[in-house]
Symmetry: C5
Subunit: 384 residues, 5 copies
């Protein structure tokens, strides 16, 4: 399933690494409300669950026209659309659900910035869902739109492949918890809740990545470490960008009194809000840790360089003067020409004295370096 | 067309690279409302489109006096002025449209900081339009002023060459969308919307530039990479400077109740606002990415240096002691003078023993470096 | 005692270093209010202290059912639960104390972000307690929930091992201070106060660590210093994350008028608030100091490198030219072949002149370096 | 004129480079309202312009007593005091204008932080005027106090030498614009406007300096570049410090309704406010650019070092092994002592083989470096 | 006097360098209002000045009981307590002045965070006084509490040695200014004003230190410079921490209407507030300058390293190839064995040709370095 998405995604944008910083816009000067279907979008699939406290019916692969009849019953209808690939279907949905053209545009032209728009008889919530990649390295973002009406909830997902709404569907079908006794606002809360909870496992992965990077940066910092730190910072930035506006969105919903949202559900949304704040909080914390790691990386690289320089300097400084001395006694000044010309070469103890001098100089330099603390091991390879 | 602008721009300011950080001011102590025509400004060209839901008339190259008669009809008149090069024309426009001298000054003395000023019978909006350079490297900024009156919209553009209003003009002429059924406020919204949408392609270019720079900084960081990163940061700063005050401007328009702005258009402006926030959001994200790239660049350069140092240190450290040894046996101490003087030179196995010693030292040092991990390849040239 | 916790903690999360950045979340789509007992949680132990100004009774290891009867008396009952390891007990407590399912979930699914939730007949405060490790290096965080009812206080601690409430218990039992004359709000304040005061000794340890690091970074910066600075920054970040939301929590309690909180206790809470602000203030100050230390560390490492480079450069620069000269006179050009071939070798003063030249060059270079200030000691090892 | 100021300034504070970060304070515990005349202050010179719409009279070098009679006429009197060097004159002015002792202190004890104080019958505005140095490198700050009364404006300048009020004076004398038809509030606005417009040419200089520095940092970064960047950052900091509080000052004036400020003038002040915001905006932009330049500078210096290291490493790595080889064949092992002792020396092709080996090694190493990309020119000296 | 304090301070905390980051806290769970006398605190000394506009009496070394009788007269009584070393005295004062236990605790358990607490019949202000060290390097902080009652002011100082209230005392005794005609609120203002003015000379010292450091960092950056910059940043941080909350304190006093504070004194407090803002402003400016200096320091150190590397690289690169050449002609290939073996050694012009070659290479390399700009002096030692 995920492979389908990955394949389709590659077709969509062959020059980008991931869709974390994507955004949608229309051509300058185009008529407001124009629907632009992305080239590789999946064909929408519409499912309807119609329920009251007592009974529940489930309809798969319905047409927009079918929805109309479920809307006209007093039961609560959850219309779930997966896929954005057909403008006509959305035009039809727009007509039957009486959606504002701008809202329809925002739903289809994904991804938009998360937002809440209050219309006369419905509330539209547009948010980003985070889906962990199967490799657990990074994630995708997918737009989900939730429209709350008097007796319906319309949810639109960008893709049909990931369905994080399955547990909610089960809860309705098997009448678990209080979901069947509640109004559409509770259903919308349940969907939103499922999306927000989807962020936590991703965060957990980043927490582990940062711990690994902390060890790596201390023990063996390489170019790959650097790239990983940058990658983590980049993806946390994307995560923050996705979750930050959702906080404002819930906050608006909590602060302003909307007739479609009951006080009871408001209490549950408050819980949602707390969790969103927690996600932001953790994201920021991880970002600060990752940014601190960058500093540590730079320092560790500097330290490594210092160590290399020290080895070079110690060896060079000891042997360069000695090489000078051996060079001196390799000169060919003619001792025969004058008694001043290298008489040492003919001394009885000449060669042993040379070795004595050499050792003296070497030991003296080693002592000098030892006094300056150059032999202290500044880079301890073990952390704890 | 763009070349015209570029040429004119060069005349205007021969010492600046682009006009991104330009600003206009008048001489200290001058009379408020003084119009200073920039030296190379183009002569203003006035077009009027006069329309109701039923009919539309189009007048090119009119004089300010002509405008007056369109203003006096109940039809909606869109007076579009392109070019700032004639003070008299603007004085005349100021008189006929009853514009405050300070407003007239702001319109002509471009560029000003984007702002919204509410006058008794009109609302003046001064904003910055971003125009991508044909090379897709960087952009120009051009000031656009939109004055909304009871039955007219007066728009003033700095240059005649770029006309991002063409699609809006077409929509009026061909009666596309709902623009002909609406009041001047909707027309102003449509113009503003076209300007804001013009920012997105520029942002997209920066997104791609950053992706390229990410690869370049990892694989082959050079001085040019550094300059490109700085350039991107500099231009994103300019972009933020241009778009940030526009957010406040729309926000003012949304928050305060202006009689000239209908509730319906307010909903469309809200969409504009969301898009402006999205532009700011992306700009900030790109700025953070670019700033993170700078860190990575610095680290990559440090790593490269480390690698160079290592090669130097390994070679030097291995050969410097060996060179000392060969120097020793190049000395000319006279073996005849004493049995202590370099007897090795006359040993039977002297030369082979020397080579054995040499190899031993070399292998020992290589082993020492291998143990310290100097031969681990810290700079992997491939990223993915 | 602390070892118990450490052991249990290791079982809980074998891949993490400490629990400072832990957080709790439920599976996406699960029913709100689900209690997930952490795998190694301790079995809850319930103690009740029932008191009026005149008399006090103390009950250990009671069952949730027992609590009910204490609740029904007009005396003030402090029900203290330590340990989260039994869902049924908490379900029972939830029923008897009439707690909202979401509140019960927050209490059990620790750690949550500190928060204040106001219910119809009780106020719930969820906060983080900081417990210094016995080694005085770092700390653990433990969640404490305090629910204030009309005539009871229910406190839930994550662990049974650390009991920072002992002094408060003593004050009740021995009637010290005014605690027995006051309502549950004062008791809740006393518990909270005890928790907040627990942060100060931890802060003091960090203050000392920073002073040590200041000295270490100036005198002898090594990799270990770097790791310690990072560790301190990391833990201060955790501390800030724990204390920051508590400020908002108290602030809410102070700002909004809750009937369960008397004006008198509000004055005491104001004192609590001031102390929380002080903790935040000190944490931020320490974070800035630690961040400044990082800069100093980097500079100190650079300085060390400079010193090494200088030694290397001075020695190399002096001896490399000299080695060239001695090499020259070690050449074997045949003086017999031409009068131009190394006549110096046969000069009477050849060898002394060579030494004179050598000394001249050496002294000249030393003078050159001295003039450029290379012999100034840039790294003074003593600070004060 | 400017030299006078410079000379006087040097006397004032012989240890400071400029007066950008000066501030004034009185001795701890002194009586509020004490006037401390700075040691080298110029003697105050009082000019009065008395005008109505119809006529204008101009009086130079008047005494404080003279002012009193102009104040008692219904005409608008602009009393301009230049110089702070006489406490008695200011005491007299304080008495005649009925100024609060604290206000008088703020006027005389310059420089104060810009502020607005509203008294019963006057509004006092204390601001900083920026004066470009004649060398166009940097600027001075001078305090200007403007007191708006019912029928007078009292302006006090720190120095007599710079008179940025001359154009305003001309506008009154020659009845240009609407200044003669307006109340004192308009005159105060005109003065303030002249001061604010004085900031722009200074900003323009910094804009140019930053462009030069951008080029310099890319092409040839030296210590001087670094000092210039620091200098620019330092002076922009001073500029921000001078202008930032002025924004609040105007904002107060706009927000609160003062009877002395008419709605009409409020519109002009709004323009002033926009311009102040623009100055802040540009200052911040320049500060960010300068701060980004610092990063680029550091990277450029690192790159230069890399280039130097590469040259050193390539040359050393190629020649050090070769020097070892030539050393080997310079050894004096006695070929006569054994057939193993350096038989190469007596080979027929010995010397040519040596050269072959040497070339092979050199070419091999060059190829090795070429493969690692060391010969790519990382520092391109041209930017565009 | 200052030595007394220093001695006592050392006793207090033998492990800390200064008291800038001290804070006071009580044991977790202790009874609120517990007084903990610091071990080395000085014995309190109580002075009372009792005054009306007409007459003034002065009483030294009185007991708390004595205070009671001065309190009961309608005259204004200033009770000044210096030293915190006796819990009983403070208990007595608390009883006579009817102080809240929490207030008494805050007064004695110094240092607290500056704050304002409003009680029913008094206002308590707790602030930090800054005292310059006699060496003018750094400062101490001392807590001062000022309690304003209906007809008294109670001031409590931590130490008896520094008395910055002396000028205020003189003003009362000699009836200078308007202090005798005013209520206790004016007296409190006068005391506060004296404390705030005490910050300025300290700031001035830091201003000078930063100027010195600017020169030092440009001309001769050493480790000591680095330590000084860190020290300045550290102390400015402490200064900010002390003054920042005072601004809020005064602001509260200005904003909320307290019956004990007259409108007249509010005007004076407004002046106090302006000065506090100025102190914060200067502190922040200095902090930014110091932080910019750190960047410059790092760059200057890098530049120095570049210069060292250049010298090393130039010398090595020139002489290493030359040394190879001289090595070649020091080889002992036997010219007798073959005509190919080093025939150069027997050439007539061999030696002169060798020198020619040597010079050519040397000049060539020097030219190469000159072309690359290595001989440009990048580190100009003079700034101006």
């Amino acid at each position: 399933m995920l492979k389908d998405f990955e394949r389709r995604f590659r077709h969509k944008s062959n020059k980008q690494k991931d869709n974390l910083f994507d955004y949608s816009y229309h051509k300058s000067g185009s008529i407001p409300g124009t629907l632009r279907i992305p080239p590789h979008a999946t064909t929408p699939k519409i499912d309807v669950i119609d329920y009251t406290e007592e009974k529940v019916t489930c309809h798969h692969q319905v047409t927009p026209q079918d929805c109309l009849k479920y809307l006209q019953t007093p039961t609560i209808s959850w219309v779930d659309v997966a896929g954005l690939g057909d403008a006509e279907i959305f035009q039809a949905l727009g007509t039957f659900f009486e959606l504002h053209p701008l809202l329809l545009e925002d739903i289809v032209n994904a991804p938009q910035r998360p937002k809440l728009v209050n219309y006369v008889d419905c509330i539209a919530i547009i948010i980003q869902m985070a889906i962990a990649k199967p490799s657990r390295e990074g994630f995708w973002l997918e737009q989900v739109s939730i429209i709350i009406g008097k007796n319906y909830v319309l949810s639109v997902q960008e893709e049909a492949d990931f369905d994080c709404f399955a547990p909610v569907r089960d809860r309705i079908l098997h009448n678990q918890g209080i979901i069947r006794q509640q109004k559409p606002d509770y259903l919308a809360y349940a969907l939103w809740d499922a999306i927000i909870d989807g962020y936590f496992p991703i965060l957990e992965d980043y927490g582990e990545q940062i711990e690994w990077l902390e060890d790596e940066v201390m023990l063996n910092p390489t170019d790959v470490t650097l790239q990983k730190i940058y990658q983590v910072r980049r993806e946390l930035l994307a995560l923050r960008r996705a979750i930050w506006p959702q906080r404002d969105t819930i906050n608006h919903l909590l602060r302003d009194r909307y007739p479609l949202i009951s006080d009871d559900v408001r209490l549950y949304l408050r819980d949602c809000y707390d969790r969103t704040v927690q996600i932001i909080d953790i994201t920021e914390t991880y970002r600060e840790l990752a940014s601190g790691l960058m500093d540590v990386y730079l320092s560790a690289v500097s330290n490594k360089m210092n160590e290399i320089m020290k080895v070079l300097a110690v060896i060079s400084t000891i042997f360069i003067p000695l090489t000078f001395i051996v060079g001196v006694y390799g000169m060919n000044f003619n001792p025969a020409a004058s008694p001043w010309n290298m008489p040492e070469l003919n001394w009885y103890w000449g060669y042993p004295v040379f070795w004595g001098l050499t050792l003296l100089i070497a030991v003296g330099l080693v002592y000098f370096f030892w006094r300056r603390g150059w032999f202290q091991n500044t880079t301890t390879p073990r952390r704890r």
